[in-house]
Point group: C2
């Protein structure tokens, strides 16, 4: 665990990297207590504020947690799936909003990943997952639901579908893809007719999952992917048209 003292410009980043590498390599096991900030400052021959900046970098990645008090200090954190979810969603959301990712690209990725889950979900779904899917489907059928609420329920439905696969790694990977799509989905205005069709597809998917029929679920998901693209395309076309008539740039 060494740093390069020749370059006194990136000290806190170097220290963070040194500790991070030690954690990743397993040299620092979970729940191991790091030396106190003062000791680290001595070891690396830097000041305490510099050490603190390094520790904050690691804390931002949930790699360590800190505790005050006599037996306190910084501890190697067991990275929980829920912590990772949050980071993944933040990162995915920013990637999509900052990199001119088209709706089509994001949508394709989301449904491709989701379809990968379908066979597993059909095999392993529990009553709980099915209940969530049914409940969300019912909610989506209620009149007077705002578009945002409809989207949120849509996300909940699809998360239940993914979680039904019973594979936490898949759930983690897909949390980002599904949740990050939500801001994009919120741009779509769902007419009563389109909602009806979506609810019908959700019902069919839930039926298929209940009947452990993965291939039907997969097929409907493919159809849903196409329909979602179609809806988005309509919104985009309408905006284009409005832009031309208004004469705005």
């Amino acid at each position: 665990m060494k740093i390069d003292p020749k370059n006194p410009a990136d000290l806190s980043a170097q220290i963070a990297k040194a500790i991070r590498d030690a954690i990743i390599s397993g040299a620092l096991p979970v729940d191991e207590r790091l030396p106190s900030e003062a000791e680290l400052a001595d070891q690396f021959e830097v000041s305490r504020p510099t050490v603190r900046e390094a520790l904050k970098r690691l804390a931002a990645q949930s790699l360590i947690r800190t505790q005050r008090g006599a037996t306190g200090g910084a501890f190697v954190n067991r990275l929980k799936f829920e912590d990772a979810y949050g980071q993944q969603i933040t990162t995915s959301t920013l990637l999509l909003s900052m990199n001119e990712i088209s709706f089509a690209t994001a949508c394709e990725a989301r449904y491709a990943l989701e379809r990968a889950c379908a066979p597993l979900s059909a095999k392993r779904r529990t009553a709980d997952h099915l209940a969530t899917m049914r409940a969300e489907t019912h909610r989506q059928a209620q009149p007077g639901l705002t578009d945002e609420a409809f989207c949120a329920s849509d996300v909940a439905f699809h998360r239940a579908l993914v979680d039904a696969a019973g594979n936490p790694v898949l759930s983690y990977q897909l949390a980002g893809a599904v949740e990050a799509m939500q801001p994009l989905m919120n741009m779509i205005t769902f007419s009563a007719r389109s909602r009806e069709r979506i609810v019908q597809m959700h019902t069919t998917i839930a039926d298929a999952i209940e009947a452990t029929d993965g291939s039907t679920a997969d097929a409907i998901l493919a159809e849903l992917a196409e329909y979602t693209q179609e809806l988005a395309q309509n919104v985009i076309s309408q905006r284009e048209a409005a832009r031309h008539t208004n004469g705005a740039d």
Copy 2:
């Protein structure tokens, strides 16, 4: 952009959250310069070191970049895919190593996701992707290759397969799953016979992708998933046996 001054224990975390929310919401556009550390300290009514800790948290997530000098400061960073890759791989690797994720679970997730790419890769693969897949397959056939080198080439092959789908969101999502598996894969010792079989499957997959035959690629990937599980199972069984004969715990 406000913080709660009543709780003077988490100031830097609160400030980081306030700025992060502003970035995610779009209130702070890309390349926008944040106020200087001194100004932020005034705004939030905290000291400069506290502001700095908050900024370091954001820098660790690649949300901002900093520059010294007269016109320097902290700028909202356009999150690049490559930056996101790195974070995703780090997070995925730690999740797998810290949470007692079984090889079976990780392997299932990886191949499920990869199979989601297969139809798209078959449709869109370029000569470049095919060349990479062929080159890596040839490398894997060379005798005298270490297990680590074989695994690395395996990862390169599968990344080319994923990239061939031409969807950066998919590539990003899968980078984590594929790369994070590598430490687990490295535990497997590949016999000459098993390598031969894997190379053969890779060749068949490359052939299918070249022939834009997504379903064959999918089928072979399923077979490869099963075979990988089988190899891993053998390693685990052998270790169990060795443990019993040695009498170690």
